[in-house]
Amino acid sequence: MALALQTFPTVRDANAALKVAGTRYLGGGTLVVRAANEGDVAVSGLVRSTDPALSAVEIADGRVRIGASVTMAAIARHAELGALAKAARAVGGPAVRNMATVGGNLFAPAPYGDFAVALLALDAMVSTDDGELPVETFLGGRDNSRAIVTSVSFALPKDDGFRFLKVSRIKPKGVSVLSIAVVLEQAGNGTISSARIALGCMADRPVRARAAEKALLGKTLDPNGIAAALGAAGEGTSPITDPIASAWYRAEVLPVHLGRLLLS
């Protein structure tokens, strides 16, 4: 059977069509068309929606809502999303970034999904027609998620409040050994008042480093201040082993790279 594509103006109709077994949603194509090209015959039909809301970026009252079809390239060049540009540029090469979408990145298995790591640190909300879910909850249940993601939303971090690092063996473009996103708030005396740290490749999907976050509270950003956090960085993680690196290596260098990111 050919791989038929159905196009719907509304997400609602697309959601209905997705109920057919073997049907997958077509975002940028970097995951699902690749799977079909590689012989995944379980993919028998594709559905997409041309709803303009999926391609919108709205910024109001310090919060941003990014439509699920917005590409990494669009985020990277968006004047008001400069803080996120580094994370968006971490995905693929130029052509991939022109295709890969925010919605698709939420489904990308490790070592892919670097932007989802950023969304996790930003504590984003993921919207579908069924409602909104915290990104962490969404990622946990993504394997069984059938509803089309329509947008993600989060509070825009302050200029220096968001840090992102992708460690890759190949430059400038390569998949992750690991990626780290950090959202920090500091009190007037410089001590850390709030910290969210998200990790890529430290499990099959992005995970929070809660022990490290906790260990940063009340500390200053210097080698002594972050030492406990680095020691706890790997707690609760189960790094992947793949052709890029072993779980052992990822676990070994996570504190090194987290330390460099925090002190950068």
Partner: protein, 333 residues
């Protein structure tokens, strides 16, 4: 974090050809009615530039500019036998066959010219621009265009030649291993300079200085292409490449260019290439085969540089950050 710097050297040689199997290649050369030359082969151009080099070799031998030569390869209905493009044999074997074929064609061409000019063929020479001149009396000349027309339409001659180059098979002596595995050897010496991050095991190759001795650079620009690309591949082999990252465990083999690692355009070492030419006795215009050799010396040079930088030996390829980090941790204990 400490970035440690080190440098390493390696020197190698590399055999041309596959003498242990017997190593023939044949070529045909003929002229068209207007004095262009067709080289017919079944040799394969993998991107290294076989077609261009065979054209230059034929042109040099016949005595015409390269743009007067067309290379027709590889069609088994028309091209005579070639073992194939491997074992650094393409230029060497096919080049020798083309020279022989072109010499035979040149001889006919000079004979026809001699008849037209009413001199002895042995008194003629080519000027490399498409003319045949009488030695010592260059005002007496004829164009190869006119010679070819004469051969085809007046004299009934075929300006053509057959070339065959065969290295007979060498059978290794059972007990001593006495054998002739190759015809000639190319040489290289590489010095690599690296930085190693001793907290992550990551290696950056800063510079590679490669000296290659390749017999004769038939086309220096194309030699440069191969040597630069080969040097990159050598570094790639040293630090990145494997289809079985956990060998001999078969799991986690890469299936795409994201998982199969090679240095990207942002990972390039500053690369210097110096070429020496000691013409080989049996190569076409002295050429040896540099295409494979050029990717070898960087591997041990980088390995030795890593040791020089951080004092650990990684004797297993590729020299990954993980292997270095494990060795550094073992060293610290």
């Amino acid at each position: 974090m400490t970035i440690r710097r080190g440098r390493g050297v390696a020197a190698i040689n590399y055999p041309t050809g596959m003498n242990l199997g017997g190593d023939p290649t044949q070529a045909l050369v003929h002229s068209t009615p207007t004095g262009n030359f067709m080289v017919t082969l079944s040799s394969v151009d993998l991107g290294q530039g076989m077609k261009q080099i065979m054209a230059q070799i034929c042109a040099e031998t016949i005595g015409v500019p390269t743009d007067r030569v067309v290379v027709d390869t590889a069609d088994t209905d028309t091209g005579p036998h070639c073992m194939g493009t491997f074992a650094s044999r393409g230029t060497h074997r096919a080049g020798n066959a083309v020279i022989q074929a072109a010499r035979e064609a040149r001889q006919v061409m000079l004979e026809v010219a001699a008849e037209e000019l009413e001199v002895n063929a042995s008194d003629l020479e080519t000027d490399g621009q498409g003319n045949i001149l009488v030695k010592g009396a260059p005002q007496k000349s004829i164009s190869i265009f006119d010679v070819a027309l004469s051969a085809h339409f007046k004299r009934g001659r075929s300006i053509s030649g057959r070339g065959m180059f065969l290295i007979p098979r060498s059978y290794p002596e059972k007990e001593t291993g006495a054998m002739k595995p190759s015809t000639c050897y190319a040489h290289a010496c590489t010095v690599a300079e690296v930085e190693v991050d001793d907290e992550t095991g990551e290696v950056t190759v800063l510079t590679v200085k490669n000296v290659f001795e390749i017999g004769r650079a038939l086309n220096p620009k194309m030699v440069e292409q191969q040597l630069v690309g080969g040097s990159w591949m050598g570094i790639s082999h040293a630090l990145y490449e494997t289809t079985e990252p956990y060998y001999p465990n078969r799991d986690h083999g890469g299936t795409d260019f994201n998982q199969y690692l090679m240095p990207g355009p942002g990972d390039l070492a500053e690369t210097e290439i110096i070429v020496l030419e000691r013409p080989s006795a049996d190569g076409p215009y002295g050429a040896k085969g540099p295409g494979e050799m050029c990717a070898n010396p960087q591997i041990p040079a980088v390995a030795n540089a890593v040791f020089d930088a951080v004092g650990v030996r990684i004797d297993t390829l590729p020299i990954t950050p993980e292997r270095i980090l494990r060795a550094l941790k073992a060293q610290a204990n």
